[in-house]
């Protein structure tokens, strides 16, 4: 059989280069406004609180809670056909913004405490979440 096609790669963007570098190092980085300290995600030009464009890139705690999810049963890109069914989880990060990641665990529920896990794959780093270890939180 033919090899699985490569996963789509994120188009390069100056605004988010630091985010992807962070993920490749195993860190989930968020933009934090250099003026007023409000964190934001996905990476964008301006802080919508104070309209400042300076940012610090700060590591998220990695802790969050499940906001919602879907289980994909149909692959709209051939790279994912062999992974069906797969789960995408939307997480409220402790810092406020949300993140989307893959979920390889069991049953999901809104509010379930989770933590980030970053898997390095051929196409690039993959943001995942897993059940937070109660003892560690």
């Amino acid at each position: 059989m033919t090899d699985t096609p490569a996963r789509p790669e994120p188009p390069p963007s100056a605004l988010s280069a630091a985010y992807w570098e962070g993920l490749r190092r195993g860190e989930l980085l968020l933009q934090v406004c250099a003026n007023c300290g409000v964190p934001r995600h996905y990476p964008r030009l301006l802080c919508c609180e104070c309209y400042h464009d300076g940012v610090h890139w700060c590591a998220a705690s990695g802790r969050g809670r499940v906001h919602s999810w879907t289980v994909a049963h149909y692959a709209y890109h051939p790279a994912f056909a062999a992974e069906l069914p797969y789960t995408l989880v939307t997480v409220d990060l402790e810092e406020g913004p949300r993140a989307l990641g893959r979920w390889y665990g069991g049953a999901l529920a809104i509010g379930l405490p989770v933590r980030v896990r970053i898997v390095q794959r051929e196409a690039g780093p993959e943001l995942c979440f897993e059940v937070a270890d109660a003892a560690a939180s």
């Binding site: 906001h67 919602s68 879907t70 049963h73 149909y74 709209y76 890109h77 939307t90 993959e126």
Partner: protein, 384 residues
Amino acid sequence: MSLAERACVSGVGETAYVRGSPKSAFELQIEAALAAIADAGLRPRDIDGVIPIGIVSGIAEDFIDNFAIPDLHFSAVIPHGGASPVMALQAAASVVASGICRHVLIAFGRNVSAAANKAGARIHAMPQFHYVTEFEHPLGNSAPAQIYAPMARRHMELYGTRVEHFGAVAVACREHAMLNERAIMKKPITLEDHRNSRLIADPFRLLDCSLESDGGAAVVVSAAAAGHDAPRPRVLISGVATGHPDSPASITQRPDMTSLGLAKAAPRAFRMAGVTPADIEVAEIYDCFTYAVIRQLEDMGFCAKGEGGPFVADGRLRLGGALPTNTHGGLLSQAHVWGLNHVVELVRQLRGEAGRAQVAGARLGLVTGYGDLGDGAIAIMRRG
């Protein structure tokens, strides 16, 4: 000065809706445009404003060239996906009410049968999806079914919305499509068929998802006074408004994932029209997914937030129900032309030209648009 009833829809037109048209998107757009212009009793060169829908078919210059329009006064592109046709009604009404134009053409054609045009591929060429393309597509969140599914899942978890509620929308649309010779889907479905259809992106099943189809649709918006000269009964735009959700480019980042731009737009449109949801006799609601109809009914105030599921149960949306909805079959069962077919259907209903799906005596109705990741638009129209 209010825009209420300063403009009317004077002409509507459609092509046949099919899967796998040999015609290009532009050919389909022109065919529909010529039909709408003829329906309005006009010649193509009478058009003095044009709003091509989307960027995949003809642009304003193509209409000037092909119609020999001597003096185009206005053109615009409204890049909000399925909200664009109803948003275009607002723009067209504004320019005819202000005297800039007399007759504005809104026209769309699409041919999505080629692999490069499938939903999971084409959105990544659109700038409004850039967050999805960069941060979500690499994870396998590639197409609208997957992107919207978490909204529906959260609605189910928070409010108890059920699979049967989604099914009620699908069944109503299919029943209406069965009455419409222009509809693609001709096979009856039941709630059980809906539940048993294969999962695409949980909680969405195949029968929760709109069609991928080829075709064209068009309308002509004229100044209200000019509408008296048109051959068909005049359909006035009584209220029209557009709205955007917070974080419009990313559902993931939206403060309330279940909120839509329509929630902001609908109160403005009802105020402009001077009517309430209880007055509406027929509704054409953008149905990219069954869930989207339920959520928009809440956003427009037909029921409270979270009550959309029970609201659509028991046949309320069917012909003969309290709120006949998507009387042409909708995007779910007629065809998907970004909801311009919904505008065409509402005009036909209010003219009394809707054939076997006619809502008896309907004089007041509404149409919504839903674009990209939650941009919204609504037009309330009245025969008059």
